[in-house]
């Protein structure tokens, strides 16, 4: 049992519940920042005692990007878009939280059917990865504002990263850096896109993009 690792993973799960349960965009962005910071700490917790330079640099980079740069970009977008709350979500917040718990249950069940946990560093890593992924997907599908969908994308990516961390030991640094670079560009572009949408249509409700504007 690795106590620090388990605690980090549980905090990750809790941040997912909070993401599902909040209607305030700023709070959701802050929650994603917390999640990013925890993700950054994960490799250090897995390494335990001796921390190699490569891991430390990667952890610092992830923490800075996911807990610093992305939230800053998204906060700026939230402020410029003039929308503080998610309005009329497709699935209510209480039900979303319950579905989150159901997703955790499903993740544990799925994990019991898969042969990954034996090799993982903690029994929790794989289920947490699955439930974080599920949360991300759910946010992308069930929320209307473009910001929440971006947050869903980030959460999904976090889940995939945890999964990779659990299964593959020692992903080449170049691949990690490439993924981080891709994400940075994606968030940057999405921020610009959201800004454009809000200026053009006076809202950031992605569901309304399907209607024609004459």
């Amino acid at each position: 049992m690795n106590h620090i690792l388990d605690t980090l993973l549980v905090i990750l799960l809790l941040s997912c519940f909070l993401l599902l349960g909040t209607s305030r965009l700023a709070a959701a962005v802050r929650m994603t920042a917390v999640q990013g910071f925890m993700i950054g700490l994960l490799p250090l917790a897995i390494e335990g005692g001796e921390i190699r330079l490569r891991v430390a640099i990667l952890a610092a980079l992830i923490a800075v990007l996911k807990a610093g740069v992305f939230p800053w970009l998204l906060m700026r977008t939230v402020r410029s878009a003039g929308t503080t709350h998610e309005e009329r979500p497709l699935v209510g917040y209480g039900l979303s939280t319950l579905l989150g718990v159901a997703a955790v249950g499903a993740a544990f069940w799925l994990d019991s059917r898969l042969p990954f946990s034996a090799e993982a560093h903690s029994k929790l890593v794989v289920p947490v990865a699955f439930s974080v992924m599920a949360t991300g997907l759910f946010l992308m599908v069930a929320r209307r504002t473009a910001i929440c969908q971006v947050l869903g994308y980030l959460t999904l990516e976090n889940g995939i990263y945890i999964f990779g961390l659990a299964i593959v030991s020692g992903i080449p640094m170049l691949v990690e850096l490439g993924v981080l670079m891709d994400m940075f560009v994606a968030v940057f572009v999405m921020g610009i896109a959201i800004f454009r949408i809000s200026r053009e249509f006076d809202h950031i409700d992605a569901a309304q993009l399907t209607s024609l504007k004459g």
């Binding site: 388990d6 605690t7 549980v10 519940f17 349960g21 718990v101 929790l124």
Partner: protein, 306 residues
Amino acid sequence: MNFWQTILPVLAALLLAPLLPGVIARVKAAVAGRRGPPLCQLYFDLWKLLRKGAVYSRTTTWVFRAAPGIALAALLCALPLLPAPGADALVSCSGSMFILIGLLALARFATVAAALDTGSSFEGMGGSREVQFAALAEPAVLLALAALARASGTCALGGMFAGTVGPLWQTAAPAVGLLAVALGIVLLAENCRIPFDDPNTHLELTMIHEVMVLDYGGPDLAFILYGAALKLWVFGTLLVNLLVPWQDAARPLAGTGVLIVGLVAVAIAIGLIESALARLRLLKVPQLLLGAGALAGLGLLLIVRL
């Protein structure tokens, strides 16, 4: 020896329960820079109320008169089911956690039925809220207790904590932390503390529990106040048992001392929380309770898996 070990917590509850609201009030006053009421204020109140006569509205029936007695009796029956840290409970049977939940539900049912019996729409509204929030708080408690039952292999409250919580803190500390937070949230909700309800406001449209007991006076009100203090003691005991992995076979009587100190600490914590937080909007309350349920469910999942 074993007898004293199990009966002392019950005696302590009967005698010291009214002290907890006093501690909370003193802490709140101290944070606000006031002196506050004496620690034993509730004892004085109870003594005063018990010497008075009762007045009943002509629209009420026997339901209204029976309710305070039933509620208090249910809570008194719940006390022997609860253990002190490291000890067994006075009455320990398999499934006593369900009896505890059932007794609490019975007390709630009696209060709500009496509130409806008065025919006042105001009290009916309070009863409706109480039941609505209880429907969300009860699953959270049951899930938390179920997690402990799973870890200890017994549904008896007596054997559930002693000897289980200590090892659990070492193997699954995050899970126990989640259960403790869930129980703490339910403690605040069930005892009508801020952020769910403000026990100091008697005539506000958003209050939940106080509104149901507006028509009581005299000994009946004393029963209700004493019952509320006992309820706080019951939930506090669960929380202290979960948080303190006390295990000392040589000095079993010390468990009661640990329990009392822990409960005073819980009361101080409640006072600090009440000083720091404002009451939630009524619409947000179910969300927070659902969150408590989610935390307890997550704790159960973790314990099942680990």
